[in-house]
Symmetry: C2
Amino acid sequence: MSKKFSTNPLRGLKDFYPSDLREVNWIKGILEDIAELYCYEEFEGPLLEPIELFAAKSSEELVNEQAFVVEKKKGKRWLLRPELTPTLARMIAKKSQEIKKPIRWYSTPTCYRYERPQKGRKREFLQFNADILGEGSLYAEIEIFNICIDILTSFGATSKQFQILYNNRRFIDALCELILLIPKEKMPDIYAVLDKSDKMEENEFEKYVIDTFQDEVVVQGILKLKETESLEDLLKKFDDIPNEFYESDGYNELIKLNKFIDEVGLSDYCTFSSSIVRGLAYYTGTVFEVYDTGKENKRAIFGGGRYDDLLSLFSDEQLSGIGFGMGVLMLSLFLKTYDLIPDFIREKDYTDTIYIASVNEEVANYAIELADIIRTEDLPCIVDYKFKNLKSQLSKAGELGVLISLIVGPKEMEQDEVVIRNMKTNEQKTITTKDLIKEIYKSFDELDELDPNE
Amino acid sequence: MSKKFSTNPLRGLKDFYPSDLREVNWIKGILEDIAELYCYEEFEGPLLEPIELFAAKSSEELVNEQAFVVEKKKGKRWLLRPELTPTLARMIAKKSQEIKKPIRWYSTPTCYRYERPQKGRKREFLQFNADILGEGSLYAEIEIFNICIDILTSFGATSKQFQILYNNRRFIDALCELILLIPKEKMPDIYAVLDKSDKMEENEFEKYVIDTFQDEVVVQGILKLKETESLEDLLKKFDDIPNEFYESDGYNELIKLNKFIDEVGLSDYCTFSSSIVRGLAYYTGTVFEVYDTGKENKRAIFGGGRYDDLLSLFSDEQLSGIGFGMGVLMLSLFLKTYDLIPDFIREKDYTDTIYIASVNEEVANYAIELADIIRTEDLPCIVDYKFKNLKSQLSKAGELGVLISLIVGPKEMEQDEVVIRNMKTNEQKTITTKDLIKEIYKSFDELDELDPNE
């Protein structure tokens, strides 16, 4: 006997058995329904892109450490996409002239990151993306926030369970430049430090900030950004704020977004948070993370932000966009925490399936013919190919949860008839094949009357 | 200015813009509907599998020439799956004890083959798969053929446009072994030669067979297998057929399948063809290819077959299965040949979308609130964020094909009202927000009456 292969998938990858996939598809279905209500159109890009595309705009970590690389030709390295946004930018840059603005697109790509598998993180993951491009005003922010809220509340989540924590990179830029006097070229480090802040203990974080910046003013400033609860409180902590700061785009965008959020009635769901900056390099304005606010699970479920320059990789066109990427697995863990995924969605529903059992093999063709008639009527149908032991065929139908079975034998075949059986009441009667469909619907009606809640 | 990246996808890969994806999703939807009518359950496996898994059972060509390989650790080579069946086998081997038989599963994975891109072949492709396992009888063959036929006829194709060409490897084995006296170990070469036969001119093929086998009896035998039209005609061409041949499993399976096909009424759609053997190594019994029979396009659209030993890679369990893999792109080319893909499915349908135009920005929040009310009713809604030039907002709605627009201005906002406009008749009236949903449905009813065919 030869050595057998493992039946496990590769580490960090997952098999989706039908019940697993039904759960994923149920979640995906709700995400897509919401996207369609906002008139977003679905698109899909290739799984492989040149590695340089991500090196240029996404993050060094993604490319250097977490990349799945394919190299078919010497020097041509392709990446299994770790995220979709660079592909989105490429596709839009290619056809920007012909696509009507604003562009509202969504997609649920499979993405890949080679990292240590852990709860909520696999090496292969579905990530729902929604983006609006070509709408520079903050109404785009409001639309995207509204989509996030509609998604989570559609599943039954409440503002007690999640919050959109938002910030603005231009605001952080202005604060760092004009109040803390940090030179512009240091900003990527500031973002990197802040992005790590929620993954560290307070002491650990303080040490990390001191090691990175050494400058006492900078360190104190960053610690303030990390701690602060409201914009007002934050600004109170700094002395000598120059007028330029209050005139900066960043400050004024943030103030305006705060105002919009209030006016549109989203303030229950949205909270300013000065420590949110996001890890990806391409964000330029609003950034946000949706947090599970439960005491035990406080963690980001997903996030996004505004990018002004992403098309610049491909063309000189300026097209600002804002969007988010939401891991379906992480979302499902959030939903499970609050018991928002009903169990029944993992089960295949056989209640509209017709099950055909046969007395013996002589009638096989007749059974198959009947199945054909039933499927033509758009009703699912199973033919049991055992062709013996009627009792065990019917008990199998019962186990599946089938409500209507048909029984055929030589006598029925000869007379163009069939026995129809109500699996709930175990009542059965002989009908003509001509009446089959009519009788099936009649049986469904009777079953409905038995249980009007079904 | 820095050098710009290309906006093209990598060679052999494809961008799916929304209209492209709508076409794919329309096709996929029909495939999945048929699978569900036969009570097949959807599953999905990981994109990456160990290269050895394909080396063992699929085909050398797939692994040696057409592989996209990822190597994260020295000596551990993972393949972007070129097909799904080995993953299916692995997943079933893992949980075989708990899954009820027969197993009916389908999936539409993205697969990868590094080959020269050509019409109907991309390096990245969607392939619909349907398999039934644990049903050893030929009724499984009939079910799979029925699914193939239902799929193609659902799109409107007829038996004049396609045929299922079927054969049986055990039959070819018996014929080669018992009539042509070819040793068993030569069979893979026989399959390889026959599988190439439809891609070659007759002369070219003859030369190729002579070069490969040299033995005159074998060469003549293979040429007969290539040419023949019916089982009867084929057998007439051989002298001295021993009794053992007529007693062989292969011969009897084929005879029985012929009989089933006749009895179940599929003979219009199915034709025996002794040259069909399929390229994949794991087939053991029935093999088939669905052909476009149009004079100009004579070519295989997709194919499949029965495999008895696929689980043996993972366990000692014997579980026979039969299934097929259908490239969605190749299918769509077939459908386009016969004009079976309606144009409208590429267009986004805005006929149930409500478009909100605003007189000025003062009413922005009110417009966004109304949109929220509408979406809660499961109606798609777009808010135009221009907030000026009402005429251009409405003409944009008209271009999209929107049938109902709402217009809001300061007066409407103040009085909790909104103007509802029928975009077909250009009639409009002021209604209260309280009546909004009722009035929207009323307008849809009026629009239906204008065009009862819609």
